[in-house]
Symmetry: C2
Subunit: 426 residues, 2 copies
């Protein structure tokens, strides 16, 4: 094996103890918030039938699928969790109590070029509500999202949510460009999602291209772009009917977000459509307020996904919150905590002859739920003390032949330096 192979495969991460503790700190923030919102944790295999993920709208996430054939099966590493959640819900749709609130913290995979804040694997916190058609569900999710940001110690205002409604866009186009070919809506959204990345000219070109499967007239494409420029709900209102349901939903959602105390950090932005085909209604993304990083979290309503997968329609909404971009933000903001290792006791026998007594002592301390490192090597006390200090132990227990003969052990408090003898049997 060559030295290069001592690295994790390109685009993947190892988690040494320090990094693992930071990862768990972040996951614990997610978990605490999810439990406060009465969400239940679930899990599904990382390897699924590839069919579960393959859709036809030219999504980046599908193009970048890790998939392979084995023993006659076409399998894929999940690129995202939502289809697996849909599968679990659909498989027990009759038995499950709706609305249901589920969360997952899973590793997802995509084969792609590496960029800052992006790897071939990442962990993602997903929160999903199934069975609730109203925007109260969206509000609850966005409330939870901000609670997680609070939980990490990030000041309010460092994270903002941009929010839109695909239903609003769809309504505005229904009378026009979508009248004859409603099936172009999904690929249209995928193209619009690239606006910031590729710019308006390239978007215009793709919207009018017949090859990309959309083929709008130039005037229609320019109309779409104009609609996307709306940065206030009132501006967007001009593009839809007065009794627009999508508009009413958006207005109600902002009222509810105020009740969660997060309305000031959520802005309407008609250009937000998200890059996944299955969204149908409200879509949103969280980003750092300074606009330096990729999006932290993305989500939306996907009321037709279960139908697409061959089941009956069940309203659903959810978000995915990755571990990579938020970690960058936490580091930029000096809010990523160093989580120290916790060891309570260090037990040291001077000679192999005291080893059995040291083991009995360590076992006794452990049965009191203390964290105990039992030194394997005897001999030099100086080294043992250095070791005990290095791992941050509170106390060192020292067992030499004299103490052992008298049934005693010396114990030193490593912060105060105080030392005393104790009977071994206690």
């Amino acid at each position: 094996m060559s030295p290069k192979n001592l690295k994790a495969p390109r685009g993947t991460r190892d988690f040494y103890p320090d990094e693992y503790r930071q990862r768990e700190w972040l996951f614990d923030c997610f978990r605490r918030v999810a439990h406060r919102f009465a969400f239940e944790e679930v899990d599904a295999p990382m390897l699924e039938d590839a069919e579960l993920f393959i859709r036809k709208a030219g999504e980046e996430i599908v193009d970048q699928l890790y998939h392979f054939e084995t023993h006659g099966h076409h399998l894929a590493l999940r690129p995202e969790m939502t289809p697996s959640i849909a599968r679990l819900v659909m498989a027990r749709a009759e038995a499950l109590r709706m609305p249901l609130r589920w969360f997952t913290i899973t590793q997802n995979w995509r084969y792609e070029r590496m960029q800052r804040g992006r790897k071939r694997e990442h962990f993602q916190w997903n929160m999903d509500i199934w069975g609730e058609p109203g925007v109260a569900a969206e509000a609850e999710l966005i409330g939870a999202l901000f609670s997680a940001v609070d939980e990490m110690g990030l000041p309010r205002g460092t994270v903002r949510v941009r929010l839109n409604s695909r239903a609003l866009l769809e309504e505005s186009l229904r009378g026009g460009v979508l009248r004859d070919r409603p099936e172009t809506f999904e690929p249209l959204c995928i193209v619009i999602d690239k606006l910031e990345k590729i710019g308006p000219e390239a978007v215009l070109e793709q919207l009018t291209s017949r090859e990309a499967g959309i083929g709008l007239s130039e005037a229609a494409a320019e109309g779409v772009l104009a609609m996307l420029g709306a940065k206030h709900l009132d501006e967007a209102a001009a593009h839809v009917a007065d009794d627009s349901e999508a508009l009413a939903d958006l207005r109600r959602l902002f009222e509810l977000l105020d009740a969660y105390g997060v309305g000031d950090h959520v802005i309407f932005d008609a250009s937000v459509v998200r890059g996944l085909a299955y969204y149908t209604g409200i879509v949103f993304e969280a980003f750092d307020a300074a606009g330096q990083l990729r999006s932290i979290c993305g989500g939306g309503r996907y009321d037709r996904l279960s139908e697409t997968l061959g089941g009956k329609a069940i309203p659903a909404v959810g978000f995915g919150f990755g571990d990579m971009v938020i970690a960058e933000l936490l580091r930029d903001q000096k809010r990523m905590p160093e989580i120290p290792r916790r060891v309570d006791d260090f037990v040291f026998a001077f000679e192999d002859a005291q080893r059995e007594k040291a083991i009995r002592l360590a076992s006794r301390l452990r049965s009191g739920d203390r964290r105990v490192e039992l030194a394997f090597e005897g001999g030099r006390l100086k080294r043992a003390l250095a070791d005990a200090n290095r791992i941050g132990a509170q106390r060192i227990w020292m067992l030499g032949p004299d103490e052992a003969d008298r049934g005693m052990v010396r114990v030193r408090d490593l912060s105060s330096g105080e030392e005393r003898e104790e009977p071994l049997s206690e």
Copy 2:
């Protein structure tokens, strides 16, 4: 998507909330014990270069590798954690403080025929000690193994460890069958490991077969089988020199296990060699005392793995403890707990007009770290009460128009049935 695809891929598992809570209960037992023994948690990618896992001894685990080529890389889903741990240690061998104590709880994959207690994925708790050559490390690991069994509430005596030393077997063969061809030792162990499964005749046949790469004489093969029959250390002693190091190690290990209070549940068994090529010394497996199930846990010393992978030799010993067989034993023994969902409060608004107030109330309760389900639907109190009871909430908070107007909320304790009014602002 056809209905069959609503199932997880064959041989894999979904974890719905009830199952997920049981899984976490088990993992928490592992974690608590690992922390008490001052082990640190680490993680590595599930997808590694296939090369990391491929060895040449005809191991089942390598034959059953999920592996594939993608974009010019030959990748594999890890079938076990030890090679990844070795990679992490070797990559930072100079910087890491030895001996190091690491644990992982990871999902591993093997493509194989399904049997009871065996799937294509399983989770495994691994505990590894690197940098300690003496049997104190083995004793610490076996001590931790039994602590985990205790932690799960299984009575002592339901789990036993069978233990042997490959070094002892190697010593006994050194003067004879291994003299000219020491490279046959690894495949020989792989064959011996199948003894219980395929029986002595088939083992004899494979040991004498030239094609399988071992090619012992019939007399030599029968000598090996005789050696494997030893069920006491004194019996095995007859096959090695009086000053055998391997024998001295075994005797010392049993003394240390007595100090851990587990010696009565560990038996010497010369037929235990384990089915992985890389073990070099002590090997052991835990099994249910009734002998009904597959092995619960397996481990051993693998002092040469880091060399095999191209690094310098570092002594190492570890075990892997799967989640499947122990779950069967826990169920058989009626010790698998049902872990109820925990929800503290259920907040219910009769009308949409009280929704904002309900949100503020829920937010207040949540900021006190309570677990709060906020009902999305108003209307029927009877249904809300049924829902609140069904999820096991302690209290229901009821917000109708009358209460809301007066700035009050009604709260009912769902176990006592007591009900009172409280100001909303508190």
